[in-house]
Amino acid sequence: MKPKLPGLVSGLGVTLKTMLKPAVTVQYPHEREDPPARARGVIALKEENCTVCMLCARQCPDWCIYIEGHKEKRPPRREGGRERSVSVLDRFDIDYALCMYCGICVEVCPFDALFWSPEYEYSEWNIARLLHDKKKLGEWMESVPEPEPLEIGAEVKR
């Protein structure tokens, strides 16, 4: 135990020591601190997987996902088979002004069409532009990181 200096003196010592140590702050626009891979920055949409099942829109507590789709005829996979009718996505908007980043939509999607990406620099001057449409959500896809390895002792999911 170092000799118990009176609090007043040891307090001054602490501030002087910190003054001489380098600062810890990150000068944001010039330097950037990259968020961890799992950070929930923005939701990306992989359009091919989406079958317009509306599960995400229904489970979202903030009601901030708006989906419109229509059905189309598709040629049968095997020739001679019956014609398939497939739902096609017309509109898939996520209103990031309302979204609370809870991640229920990403989890509840049965077809893995929604992914998390740690991208966070999409602030806007006008709040209406926070309503990201299908195209913008698709653009976020390439910022989605690979699922990183788990800690030792974790059971690897099959």
Binding site: G7, G11, T15, P36, A39, C102, G103, V108, W116, A154
Partner: protein, 419 residues
């Protein structure tokens, strides 16, 4: 690597005697303002609070809040002053009332877990634990041991994050500018850990009924160990800079003394009650939950019950939490993260009361379920609500600057009060 607790001998000896500052009188008598005699030491600063009649200056009503730097959010304190001394204080709350209990009636269980971690947003992971525990007990399922351990680690990490902020914040309430920045700086390490594991710094949403959403990322355990080292250093810095400072002691010793009986009658809980000498910690004494039965930890109490005692108890609890995390990391079992749980969760009929030791105090949920995908009614018992309800009694006859010290030392969060 468990460092011996750096505690001044004086506190150590007095804390271990475990004697409680007792309210000499009986419980509050049946008047509107529960007047009661209090132990003479406490009355010292209440005694000279009598209104100086001969001057007979009119009282000044001052509004501390809802827009005020010292009220941690939107608490409004209507204070009747005689000069600088408070005659009566009436906290007005509700500026942040979001109506959680009404919202839970219109939500399914997964949606509720994302909502309730916004009640006490500083230790948000700890809010989810009692609700998830309640739902799991109602469904009769048990999360696998690894999930229990990771939940305990994240709860203790959010406790450290909340207390580090408090240790810095308390300095700011009393006037020192620098500790607040140290508090925020050291808390960053903990928030980065929580974000690396759960994806969210403040709102992890990592708890699921039956286990966790995912397992820990690679290298997380080592990062946590190094982070614990910075927590120990931070606690030593606060010990030197704030707790040891004679001016800080002059400003907080014997200010806002809460007698143990009255604290219990008002429902004050957690570190505030332990600072009045009550040796009661749900992690050890309540129904066993998460992985707390498997680790040993010490419950810190302090006999004085004043603002300094509350600061001191939280400082020791931060160190204790860091030691607990290290123990948990050593014994972390391997295995699955999630038990088998149906896709659409329907909790069978029944009701249950589960409470846990959150950083701010005891948080509990009384869940009534009627077998639907959402609960019928959830009573959310939050710690700060009761901790603040003692203010009208506590602030009588106190100087204005001491009002700020007491508000700071009770450490409440407005979201927790207003729900």
């Amino acid at each position: 690597m468990n460092r011996p607790p750096r505690v001044s001998e004086a506190e150590q000896s007095r804390a271990s005697t475990g004697e409680r500052v007792s309210a000499v009188g009986a419980s509050p008598t049946a008047t509107s303002e529960p007047m009661m005699e209090v132990d003479p030491r406490l009355y010292r600063h209440l005694a000279d609070a009598q209104v100086n009649v001969e001057l007979d200056t009119g009282d000044m009503i001052l509004n501390l809040g809802p827009q005020h730097p010292a009220t941690h959010g939107t608490l409004r304190l209507v204070v009747r002053l005689d000069g600088e001394r408070v005659i009566s204080a009436d906290p007005i709350i509700g500026y942040m009332h979001r109506g959680y209990e009404k919202l839970t009636e219109f939500r399914t269980y997964p949606q509720i877990t994302t909502l309730i971690n916004r009640i006490d947003w500083l230790s948000s992971f700890a809010n989810e634990v009692p609700f998830i525990d309640a739902a799991e007990q109602l469904m009769g399922i048990l999360a696998p041991p690894r999930a229990q351990y990771i939940r305990t680690i994240l709860t203790e990490l959010s406790r450290i994050a909340t207390f580090l902020l408090f240790l810095g914040e308390m300095g700011l309430q009393v006037g020192a500018l620098t500790p607040a920045f140290y508090g925020f700086r050291d808390r960053e390490h903990i928030l980065n850990l929580i974000e690396a594991a759960t994806g969210g710094r403040f709102h992890p949403n990592f708890n699921r009924i039956g286990g966790l959403k995912d397992d820990l990322p690679w290298g997380w355990v080592n990062d946590t160990r190094t982070a614990m080292k910075t927590v120990f250093d931070a606690c030593d810095t606060f010990e030197d800079l704030v707790a040891g400072n004679e001016i800080f002691e002059a400003r907080t010793r014997s200010i806002g003394i809460i007698p143990a009986e009255l604290g219990a009658a008002y429902g004050v809980s957690g570190s505030n009650l332990r600072a009045s000498g009550v040796d009661w910690d749900l992690r050890r004494d309540g129904k066993p939950y998460l992985a707390y039965p498997e680790i040993d930890f010490r419950v810190w109490t302090h006999p004085d019950g004043d603002s300094f005692a509350r600061y001191w108890v939280r400082l020791q609890e931060t160190r204790e939490a860091a030691r607990m995390v290290l123990q948990l990391l050593d014994q972390l079992p391997s295995g699955p993260i999630m038990t088998k749980v149906p896709l659409i969760i329907k909790v069978p009929q029944g009701e249950i009361w589960v409470e846990t030791e959150n950083p701010l105090g005891q948080m509990g949920y009384y869940v009534f379920s009627k077998g639907a995908t959402g609960p019928f009614r959830v009573k959310i018992r939050s710690a700060s609500f009761s901790n603040v309800s003692i203010l009208p009694w506590l602030l009588r006859g106190v100087f204005v600057p001491d009002v700020i010290t007491i508000l700071g030392s009770l450490y409440f969060i407005l979201g927790d009060i207003d729900r």
